[in-house]
Symmetry: C2
Subunit: 122 residues, 2 copies
Amino acid sequence: MLDMDKKIQIFKALGNETRFKIFKNIFTGGYACSIDDTKPKDDLIAQATCVTSIAEQFDFALPTISRHLKEMKDADIIIMKKSKNKIYIEPNIETMKEIAECFTKLVKEYEEGAVYQFDNTK
Amino acid sequence: MLDMDKKIQIFKALGNETRFKIFKNIFTGGYACSIDDTKPKDDLIAQATCVTSIAEQFDFALPTISRHLKEMKDADIIIMKKSKNKIYIEPNIETMKEIAECFTKLVKEYEEGAVYQFDNTK
DNA sequence: CATCAATTTAGCTAATAAGCTAAATAATTA
DNA sequence: TAATTATTTAGCTTATTAGCTAAATTGATG
């Protein structure tokens, strides 16, 4: 269950044009995406989503993208896994599910006229 | 349908502690909330959610809360309606529905292995 | 073990955002 | 129409964020 601070962190992470586009890219990928744990590590394709391949899609310096990715990882909206000397990046679907549920519940309970706790952890 | 810029604006609006709490307050309200258009305007109760009653719940100056509310209104996450010389505030449920749907679809299509367009308007 | 590739950290600058007080505006009421 | 209430606007200060380059780190490979 996401607490208030985590939710704010998630919205902050998505509330910036560069990070939003990175997020979008990680989902839609112009390149192959994600780590398949069922395959041996040396099977990972060269074009899989890593920091460099994401940075290539933007007109910003690599360290800038690296910082954005760190912020997104800290917010738990992406997962970064190191394999060899590359870091592979994929969306954090669990977090997305929680956020989806949170908004769905917000609407549902509001329409039922109940007092809804958008966040009941604090 | 929310375009990319609008989504970023919505996340930015929710990605700040003060605004998040205001948003939460508008839903959960420690006070009576919302405008009921089916009732005559002079039927509105004194404690209904207006700028002042929201500001009272925070340790910030009124103009600060007013600015935050403007930002939330511009992002279409709340609705502000003037009646007499007060402004009544309620959540924008349509936007919440769209956001809920957006995340639900994101998860669903990702799990189906499809290439998901988190935003296909730009 | 030297080099290369991938990424992060440090330290800087400029832009943006969040707070404030004082003043202005708008609508109501005495 | 003067006073009161509700809200916004203006203008300021401080904090935060987003970008940069240069340097450091990590791990792989010749």
